[in-house]
Symmetry: C2
Subunit: 213 residues, 2 copies
């Protein structure tokens, strides 16, 4: 399809598409003449993802380009490719290594991972920014005097695992690995607010059930 058709189908103006092309967020189309290029379904998908990252995720252009670099890196294994793309997204707070609660939180997370049967930091080193933000969130709870008991954490983590299982089941219905990785990145940015709102809605529902209106 031509640029004008890509614009119409995606709802993105041609000026914006040209900007994305210049910034390397959208790969160039197949040149068919000196002034025209052909675009395909993959450009449409990529436009969708770029808008999700920029408009909903509010990522800077440079971060978006880095995320897409991993999304497109076919030399990586699927777990690493997914991991690298997701790690390039903005993530939660970093632990304050000076604070005494950080060490306590790190031990608590390690015990939690052991009880869950998940990979512990001891096994692979705590390189993951996701692991670090779990430690940081827990350290904040400890510092502010809100305890977080082991059993509660185990139960909530198991529920989050079930959420992840459904997310990956849905991801695996996508035909190609490229589409699966795109889907996972979009999901991290777009479904996070949806799940957070659903959780608060569930809280309202359960509160009304327990205590009446």
């Amino acid at each position: 399809m031509r640029l004008s058709e890509l614009s119409e189908l995606s709802g993105v103006t041609t000026a914006t598409i040209k900007y994305y092309l210049r910034e390397g967020l959208l790969p160039p189309g197949q040149r068919v003449s000196a002034t025209q290029a052909e675009y395909d379904e993959s450009h449409l998908r990529r436009l969708r993802l770029v808008r999700a990252l920029l408009q909903v995720g509010r990522l800077p252009v440079a971060t978006t380009r880095e995320v897409l670099k991993y999304v497109d890196d076919e030399s990586l294994g699927r777990t690493i490719r997914l991991g690298a793309a997701l790690w390039a997204l903005p993530h939660g707070p970093e632990p304050d290594e000076e604070a005494p609660e950080t060490a306590l939180a790190r031990d608590e997370v390690e015990r939690l991972l052991g009880r869950l049967g998940w990979t512990t930091a001891q096994e692979i080193g705590s390189l993951s920014p996701v692991h670090r933000s779990v430690v940081a969130s827990l350290a904040t709870l400890i510092r502010l005097g809100y305890p977080c008991e082991g059993d509660y954490l185990v139960e909530q983590a198991q529920l989050m695992h079930q959420v992840a299982v459904r997310d990956l089941d849905m991801m695996e219905t996508y035909p190609s690995e490229a589409e699966q990785v795109e889907k996972a990145v979009a999901s991290a940015v777009l479904y996070e607010p949806l799940l957070a709102s659903l959780r608060r809605l569930a809280q309202e529902e359960e509160t009304a059930r327990r205590f009446g209106l």
Copy 2:
């Protein structure tokens, strides 16, 4: 206890405590002389909550004061008191009533609530800002071309309901209604980032299990 002791036990400087008192975020202590006041356990708890709202939730002082007003309003029933305090917190995106996707999303959410057996908007009117942010998140998915199938939404919402059940179970272990409401508000601000990180950690774990490292 005296102001100095309250400062020591809470880890909040006396200057900051005096600022919270002036701003009405902390109720005054019991005056024992012209220059001294006595504080108790409830002040310590309130300081914890104020720090959670200001430092972690990054709420403006005026919003924090509004949240606390509902937390302290004993004339309200428990569901309304909880609801009002939580509704005063910043919440997700507002639906764009001009966009055609908003009407589609609203229908989809109504179907979802019906299938879940939760209170539908038709039953109580869609006054809840939480309900509105579910509609807005779903409208964004539709607009960007990421479909969100009914079954997927039902399953994820049911898991979020289980999360809420555990949160409320924990809340109900707190002795007084005042402490329960404080706990719920703190939970909305502090546990949200923890759950989001746990979900991403679960995704990494499940990805590694399915596709290897």
